[in-house]
């Protein structure tokens, strides 16, 4: 525990009203030097606490999660309070072994679930299937279905394995804000959760791809790191229907991923010069109205803006959209962190990973500018 630090809350924890009280947060810092069994030793107290209704922030390959043991009703309830999350917004249940899914799914779950799970798990894909009686309605937002994912991140797997039960977890951020992808994003949860397991910046940086198996053909509910092109190699009849307004999947019904600042998108038309000039035009127009904006540019356009003295940061290179995914939420949070009230973000072509990027970018900006 040499690297752990203890933060004591200002108020004593009140059992009756634990949801609103300040709790002391213990931070466990893990590095890549630790062996799996060393990690297991270090996070064991957090894993055990999850079964008693305590909350832990933990790393996954997609974003940081805010977890509670699925059989700890108090913990599940607290997730909604801590995040300010609407109760009908379901949580994803995280497992560490495909066999754990057997307790969670209803017998009417199609066999295809197992075929798909074997191809995509462990990894950043969530499947929505009919739920068993063991999964509480609190977790599913009252729906008869459950969203399940087997993360590939070793720390997530060890935490779930050590807890001895699946972990329900949305992203570790206040509802509506961009998801947390770096340790510094977790500060807003200090004093609200008992444990923060800090494993540095997240690898992928975008929430999982969500697929519903509640109907035939299966439906893509949320685009994510595993692209439609890759999904269709295994699920050729996959239906893409992203306009549905119903809260079928976690994080799809409500405004999400949005910083305090107003965000405008400059559409990608296939031409870098046009993109840079369109961005510049809006930037200068805002400046004329005394509105200083931060440009969220890419490696290909950053020099254009910085050479002209505009406020701009690069999210990564267009030649590797993966690098942009890794930095997207951090960049959106940077607009707020640097005190800007306006942000201008470049758009992307909606193919491959670009589909998931644009999904998040549009939500970050929706009806806001």
């Amino acid at each position: 525990m040499d690297q752990s630090e203890k933060h004591h809350g200002l108020l004593p924890e009140n059992e009756e009203n634990a949801v609103d009280s300040v709790v002391s947060t213990q931070r466990v810092v893990l590095t890549d030097k630790h062996s799996l069994f060393q990690i297991q030793e270090k996070i064991k107290p957090a894993a055990e606490a999850l079964t008693r209704g305590e909350l832990a922030v933990f790393p996954t390959e997609t974003v940081y999660g805010l977890g509670a043991g699925i059989y700890a009703a108090k913990g599940v309830q607290r997730i909604f309070c801590v995040k300010g999350r609407p109760a009908d917004n379901p949580l994803i249940v995280h497992i560490a072994d495909i066999n754990q899914a057997l307790d969670l799914i209803h017998e009417s779950t199609p066999d295809l679930f197992f075929l798909y799970a074997e191809r995509f798990w462990p990894g950043p894909v969530t499947f929505v299937v009919p739920k068993s009686q063991r999964v509480s309605d609190k977790i599913t937002g009252g729906k008869p279905s459950v969203a399940i994912r087997f993360p590939s991140h070793p720390v997530a797997q060890i935490l779930i394995n050590s807890a001895g039960q699946p972990i329900a977890a949305p992203s570790a951020n206040i509802s509506g804000k961009p998801s947390a992808t770096r340790p510094e994003h977790l500060r807003e949860l200090e004093g609200k959760v008992e444990w923060i397991i800090d494993n540095g910046p997240i690898t992928i940086g975008l929430e999982s791809t969500i697929i519903s198996l509640l109907q035939t053909p299966p439906v893509l509910l949320r685009p994510g790191p595993i692209t439609v092109e890759k999904l269709k190699e295994i699920i050729p009849n996959l239906e893409i229907n992203l306009k549905s307004s119903k809260a079928l999947a976690p994080g799809m019904k409500y405004r999400h991923y949005a910083p305090e600042a107003a965000i405008a998108i400059i559409p990608w038309t296939g031409n870098l010069t046009k993109l840079a000039k369109d961005t510049e035009e809006l930037y200068l127009r805002l400046r004329g109205e005394d509105k200083e904006a931060l440009i969220l540019a890419t490696a290909e356009t950053i020099n254009y803006h910085s050479a002209r003295g505009y406020s701009a940061i690069s999210m990564g290179s267009r030649s590797n959209l993966y690098s942009i995914a890794q930095n997207l939420f951090h960049s959106l949070r940077t607009v707020d962190a640097l005190g800007y009230r306006w942000g201008i973000i470049e758009g992307f072509e909606e193919v491959g990973l670009g589909l998931a990027l644009m999904n998040r970018i549009e939500k970050a900006s929706s009806g806001h500018f």
């Binding site: 062996s35 799996l36 069994f37 462990p122 910046p201 692209t227 959209l321 990973l353």
Partner: protein, 267 residues
Amino acid sequence: MGQVFVITSGKGGVGKTTVTANLGAVFSRLGKKTCLIDADIGLKNLDVVLGLENRILYTIIDVITEKVGSMEALVRHKTSRNLYLLPASQIATKEMMKPEDMEKVVAQLRPNFDIILIDSPAGIESGFRNAVVAADAAIIVTNPEYTAVSDADRVTGLLEKSKISEENIFLIVNRFRPNVAEKRGMLSIDDVTKTLAIPLVGIVPDSEAVVIGSNRGLPIAFESDNELNKIFTNVARRMLGHKVPLQEDYKLSKPTFWRLFKSLFKS
């Protein structure tokens, strides 16, 4: 006198039977007279993976009960003429076999083969003990998943208490996927080897071709000129004591990894 390896895992579903079938394919291609023993009694599948399920006349239980001789019970592979299978029995239960029975069967087969691979059942119960008792060396198959690594560690502990000497316990990481951006996104080879302190003899990439091969009853390593054949050949040569650097597996895996990587993040 042949060398006898038991292929084991602790956790089920890590691809142990597929690895056994593919190793059988490459050993026989290396000119080794090879026998695969399916010790997964009550759950036969090595025969299916090898495409031999319709050729079974006798099983290991028939040998134990002395209905037939051990050589008589073997099924010869359709194309690899020096690869043989001693099938498991579907109807028998694990309790019908004792460790002494396996020792007897292996003692009979050993003089006739260069390599004998015993496919152990998952778990650490009686079936595991039967499979392990007659082996000179053990291969532990694991996946880059914590539960698989943790079960592999448990099996290592048990094997160290068996008569197999510690330096004859080896590790294969199966279904390895590229560690995206070389960061903590999934379990890396380094994570696995740092945790399980046993020598690594193979890294087998997660590949659609391996799955399809097993489903069709034609393990991928039967085909020449593919990366997986070369990877399994490297594993086999390491099992025979040759020094083949693990870098070779990485190099061969790269095209496969790269294709997967690109398709995961197609832009």
